[in-house]
C-alpha cells in the first residue's frame, strides 16, 4: 500500500475512478447479459470477499490464517437458524434431513428472516473472531497457522454433531417463494446483487482501513512485530481488530453462500477447509498478498480457471489446480501484483527523488 504522499496524483486518481466505474457498470450489467450463469457470477463475488478478507490477515497483517473459514461457516449456520427457527420446529425440520421438504415461506417471511439472518451472521463472525483472536493471536508464524487449522476442524466437528442444526446430514435453507423459472431467476438476481454489494462494501471498507494509520500499524506488525512493540505499538489489539473485521464480512458472506447453494453440509459447504479454506489463500497469493487489487485479480483468474476446469476437465480438476499452485509458487512467489511491483517499482511511487540531491548529500 502506498500513502497519499503527494497531491499530484490527480491523473492517477481519475484513472482509478474510471476503472472502478467500469467494473461497477460491468458488474451491474453482467447478470442481465448472462442470465444462464448468474449463480456462478454470485459465487465469483463470494470468492472476491473471501480473498480480500483473507488478505487482511495474510497480506496486510502477515498472519497466515487457515481458519478464516470458521467465520464463514459459523455465519452461515447462524443465518440458517435465524431464517428457519422462527417459522417451524427446527429440530423436526432438520431431522427430516435432505429428504424432507424445504421450508416454504411467504415473501414477507423469507425476507423478514433473511435480513436479520445476515445481521446475525455478521455479528457471529465478528464476535467469534474477537474471542478466537484473544486466544490464538498470541501465537506467531507457523504456530498461528497450525492453530487456525485446528480451529477449522474443531468447529466443523461441533456442527457435524449438533442435532439442532441437522448434524452430519446437513440443513436445507428455506425455499425462495414463488414457482417456476421466473422465480428462480429473481432469486439468482437478488443474491447476485447482495453478493456484489457485500463485495463492494468489503473492498471499500478495507481500502479505507488500509489508508488510515491503523493500516500502517498492521503493516508494521507484518514486517517486524518485535520492532513494532519496541516502538510502542500494543500489537494484540490491532491483530484482534484486523481479524474481527475479516470475521464480520466473512460471516455475512457465508450466510449469502448458504442461501445460494440451498443445501448446507457442515464439512463440504460451511466448513470446507480443504476447498474454500485453501482457495481463499490461493487467490490472495496468486493476485499478490498485501496489495489492493491482488485479491480481485486472483479471484478472477482462479474462479475462471476453476469453472473451466470443472466444465472441461472434470475428474482431473484437482490435478490441474495442483499444478497451477506449484506454478504460482515457483514463478510468482509474490503474486501477480508483487511481480509487477518489483518489475516496475516506479509505478508504485518507489523512486529516488533527486530534486534535493545536493542538500541531501551534504
Amino acid at each position: 500500500m502506498t500513502l497519499p504522499t503527494s497531491s499530484s496524483g490527480n491523473p492517477a486518481n481519475r484513472r482509478f475512478v474510471l476503472l472502478c466505474l467500469a467494473i461497477g457498470v460491468l458488474s451491474i450489467a453482467a447478470p442481465f447479459a448472462f442470465p444462464a450463469i448468474v449463480k456462478q457470477l454470485s459465487i465469483f463475488w463470494v470468492m472476491v470477499i473471501v480473498a480480500y478478507t483473507w488478505d487482511t490477515m495474510g497480506g496486510q497483517l502477515g498472519y497466515n490464517s487457515f481458519g478464516n473459514i470458521v467465520f464463514f461457516g459459523a455465519g452461515l449456520y447462524m443465518s440458517a437458524i435465524v431464517q428457519i427457527a422462527p417459522f417451524t420446529n427446527m429440530r423436526a425440520y432438520t431431522a427430516a434431513g435432505e429428504q424432507g421438504e424445504a421450508l416454504a415461506l411467504s415473501m414477507g417471511q423469507y425476507l423478514g428472516g433473511l435480513a436479520p439472518g445476515l445481521v446475525a451472521a455478521a455479528l457471529t463472525g465478528f464476535v467469534l473472531a474477537v474471542v478466537f483472536g484473544f486466544i490464538i493471536l498470541s501465537l506467531r508464524g507457523h504456530y498461528f497457522a497450525i492453530g487456525t487449522l485446528a480451529l477449522g476442524i474443531f468447529l466443523a466437528q461441533i456442527f457435524a454433531n449438533w442435532e439442532f442444526v441437522g448434524a452430519g446430514s446437513g440443513i436445507t435453507m428455506p425455499e425462495f417463494p414463488g414457482q417456476g423459472r421466473a422465480s428462480d431467476q429473481n432469486k439468482s438476481i437478488l443474491f447476485y446483487f447482495l453478493c456484489f454489494g457485500l463485495a463492494s462494501a468489503t473492498i471499500v471498507a478495507l481500502r479505507w482501513l488500509y489508508s488510515t494509520r491503523f493500516g500502517l500499524a498492521i503493516n508494521a506488525i507484518r514486517d517486524d512485530e518485535d520492532k513494532a512493540e519496541a516502538m510502542g505499538i500494543t500489537t494484540t489489539r490491532y491483530k484482534v481488530v484486523a481479524w474481527s473485521v475479516s470475521g464480520f464480512f466473512l460471516g455475512v458472506c457465508g450466510a449469502l453462500y448458504g442461501n445460494i447453494v440451498r443445501f448446507v453440509d457442515p464439512e463440504e459447504t460451511a466448513f470446507d477447509g480443504p476447498g474454500l479454506g485453501v482457495w481463499m489463500v490461493l487467490m490472495a497469493v496468486l493476485g499478490g498478498k498485501g496489495s489492493l487489487w491482488g485479491p480481485l485479480i486472483g479471484a478472477v483468474l482462479f474462479h475462471l480457471t476453476k469453472e473451466l476446469l470443472w466444465t472441461y476437465l472434470l475428474g482431473f480438476q484437482n490435478i490441474v489446480l495442483g499444478i497451477l499452485v506449484v506454478v504460482i509458487v515457483v514463478f510468482f512467489p509474490e503474486g501477480i501484483m508483487g511481480w509487477v511491483r518489483s518489475r516496475w517499482p516506479h509505478m508504485f511511487g518507489e523512486s529516488v527523488d533527486l530534486s534535493r540531491q545536493a542538500e541531501a548529500s551534504k
Binding site: F214, D226, A228, A230, R356
Partner: protein, 247 residues
C-alpha cells in the same frame, strides 16, 4: 542531576549462563553514557532487560522515578524509553516515509485515533528527520531496498520520530561507512544537545565511544567491571585486560 534511568542489582541468566550478574547503572537526564565490553559480556541482555523484553531474575529498574521492572515492551516504549536493535530492524516492505509515519508516539493513542489518516505535520516531520539523517532522496524507497547502513540511519530517524526522552542505541555505527561515522557522532550529539534526548550507547568502536560519551560503563562476563570518564576507562588496567583477553 537526577537519575532518569536507574538500574539496581539486575541479574538475568539463561539456563546455566549468567548473562547479567548484579548490575547497577544509572543515567542522568541529558547525559550521554557509553556501555562497552567484549562480545558476550551481557550488554544487549542488559538492554533487553531494561526495555522489558524478558523478565528479570532479580533487581529493579526505574525510569524517571517510576518502577518499570514489570511493564511490558510497548508500555515502556510509550513512556519514552526507546531502544534500537543491534541487527537493525526496520519495516522492510514499507517505504521510508511509511516507516516514519508509523513511528509516531503511541502513548495514549486510542484505536479510534488510529482510524484516521496521518496528518500533514507527520509527513512534514518525517521529511525533516529523513533529511537530518541524509535519506531524504530515498524516502519513497522500500525499507528493505536500502543498504544496511542506510537502514541503520532510517532506524535512528524512526526512533527520533517517536519523540523519546531516552534512547538506548545498540551499536549505532556498526556497518556504517567510516566516512559517515563522524557525521553520525555529530548528529547524536546534536540530538542530545538540541532535543534533550538522553543517550545510553552500546559501542564497539572505541574512537566513537571515547568521542561521544561523557561517562562509560564497562561490562565483562556479565558483571560490571568499571565505571568512569572515557580517559579513566581507557587506561583502566582491568578494562584493557578484558579487551585483550589477558587476565
Amino acid at each position: 542531576m537526577t537519575a532518569l534511568l536507574d538500574v539496581r542489582s539486575v541479574s538475568k541468566s539463561f539456563g546455566g549462563v549468567s548473562a547479567n550478574r548484579d548490575i547497577s547503572i544509572d543515567v542522568g537526564e541529558g547525559e550521554i553514557v557509553g556501555l562497552i565490553g567484549p562480545n558476550g559480556s551481557g550488554k544487549t541482555t542488559l538492554f533487553n532487560s531494561i526495555v522489558g523484553f524478558h523478565p528479570l531474575d532479580k533487581g529493579s529498574i526505574r525510569f524517571s522515578g517510576r518502577e518499570i521492572t514489570k511493564l511490558r515492551v510497548p508500555r515502556i516504549a510509550q513512556l519514552g524509553l526507546l531502544r534500537t536493535f543491534q541487527q537493525t530492524r526496520i519495516y522492510s516492505k514499507m517505504t521510508a516515509m511509511e516507516n516514519m509515519a508509523v513511528s509516531t508516539p503511541h502513548r495514549g493513542v486510542s484505536l479510534a485515533g488510529m482510524m484516521t489518516r496521518q496528518s500533514r505535520e507527520v509527513t512534514e516531520k518525517s521529511e525533516v528527520l529523513l533529511d537530518f539523517v541524509g535519506l531524504y532522496s530515498k524516502r519513497f524507497l522500500r525499507g528493505g531496498d536500502l543498504s544496511f547502513g542506510q537502514q541503520k540511519l532510517l532506524e535512528f530517524a524512526m526512533a527520533l520520530m517517536n519523540e523519546p526522552r531516552m534512547l538506548l542505541l545498540d551499536e549505532p555505527t556498526a556497518g556504517i561507512n567510516p566516512t559517515l561515522i563522524n557525521g553520525l557522532i555529530d548528529r547524536l550529539k546534536r540530538v542530545n544537545a538540541d532535543l534533550g534526548i538522553t543517550l545510553l550507547v552500546i559501542e564497539h568502536n572505541m574512537r566513537v565511544i571515547m568521542n561521544l560519551a561523557e561517562r562509560i560503563y564497562c561490562l565483562a562476563h556479565g558483571e560490571l567491571l568499571a565505571e568512569g570518564a572515557p580517559e579513566t576507562i581507557q587506561s583502566d588496567p582491568r578494562v584493557v585486560d578484558a579487551y585483550l583477553g589477558a587476565s
